[in-house]
Amino acid sequence: MDTPKTVEFAHLGRSVVIKGELSGSEDLYVDGQVEGTIELHGNSLIIGPSGQVRANVNAKAVIVQGKLEGNIHASERAELRKSAVAVGDIITQRVAIEDGAYFKGKVDIQKDGAKPEARGPVASASGAAAGASAAAAKTPVTETK
């Protein structure tokens, strides 16, 4: 999938630094630094090539091109582009990871409507305990190279 046109996204530029809870009801492109949490229920988040995010992220779709330290809960899909450095767990329905991306953490594919397991604190890569029920049926997974 191509990166959506950033002009349609709220844009946090390279020089922007945010600490705290970031929430909204529109798509967001982050090319600066964010530390805390990002809540974009029903909307998309793109972390640009210069973006450095240290936060748990909750959105419909999450695309990482820069650095993310924290868990991703994407209700629809998560993508790690080749420049991505992601440390944390990914809970989503569909995942696409480009060759060259660095990822440390867990990938848990959940079918639509499945209840996600409780997520741990930021930067506790893969620290969440096992036990959540995963999709029993085959889940479509895309992969980009």
């Binding site: 480009e98 953490g105 867990k106 506790s124 620290g127 995963a134």
Partner: protein, 240 residues
């Protein structure tokens, strides 16, 4: 005897290149090989039950896809790259440079005990600094469920000291793609928030384990099975 610092640097292939220079592009050529160990493991992986799998190799989209398509949970942690973190270098009582194994284990392989059904070590033990190999295997023992399986590859002496280090991508129940990658520098933040520089790829074979060494390495495990491949690699499947 070479110092640990020298040995540490010997982890990396290509001493002539400037390690701080621009990162070369990753080689993309892939070789296909059959894996008897993976074929044996596939009997478990094809089960309907949701398994927890730990892949200790370089991040592989193919592996993540393989396991998630089968409804398994996949954990990815590139332990070899983590072991090249220069900040791990410290000095012992005699002032000799050593790798801080305690810190390495305090920052890596942090999972609840007995979590995993399967651990994929690939060629980790052959290319990782010797001082880390035993502690890592010990930690992996504690992370595996009783009856859990671990797949590791070891070069035979015939492979030679310049045996290239590969990434392994699962492309079938008994088929792997091997991808040789060139060194590149990456700056990453550790759990403490401190930025570390690590070098990915281009690792040098550190030693050759014979069968007895391998059996000793996994002596705490319940069983061990060897598969000798045509490319001078012994595949080892151990069961906790």
């Amino acid at each position: 005897m070479a110092s640990v610092a020298q040995s540490f640097m010997k982890l990396f292939r290509g001493s002539s290149g400037d390690p701080g220079g621009p990162a070369p592009a990753q080689a993309t050529k892939r070789l296909t090989r059959r894996s008897s160990g993976l074929a044996e493991l596939a009997k478990v992986l094809e089960s309907e039950e949701t398994l927890c799998v730990l892949d200790l190799g370089n991040t592989s989209p193919a592996n993540i896809r393989y396991f998630t398509e089968r409804s398994h949970k996949i954990y990815s942690e590139d332990l070899l790259v983590a072991s090249t973190d220069r900040s791990l270098l410290t000095k012992d009582e005699q002032g000799a440079a050593v790798l801080d194994g305690k810190r390495f284990l305090a920052e890596n392989l942090l999972y609840p005990g007995a979590l995993f059904d399967v651990v994929l070590c690939w060629n980790l033990a052959d290319y990782m600094d010797e001082s880390l190999v035993k502690p890592v295997v010990g930690r992996l023992w504690s992370l595996l469920k009783p009856g859990g399986m671990l797949l590791a590859f070891f070069h035979t002496r015939e492979a030679g000291p310049d045996a290239p280090c590969y990434r392994y991508h699962i492309v079938g129940t008994d088929t792997l793609e091997m991808q040789h990658i060139e060194p590149r520098r990456e700056v990453r933040k550790g759990p403490t928030g401190i930025a570390h520089t690590a070098i990915t790829g281009g690792f040098r074979l550190q030693r050759v384990f014979n069968n007895r060494h391998i059996e000793n390495l996994f002596r705490d495990f319940a069983s061990i099975k060897f598969f000798l491949a045509r490319d001078n690699v012994r595949e080892v499947l151990v069961v906790r």
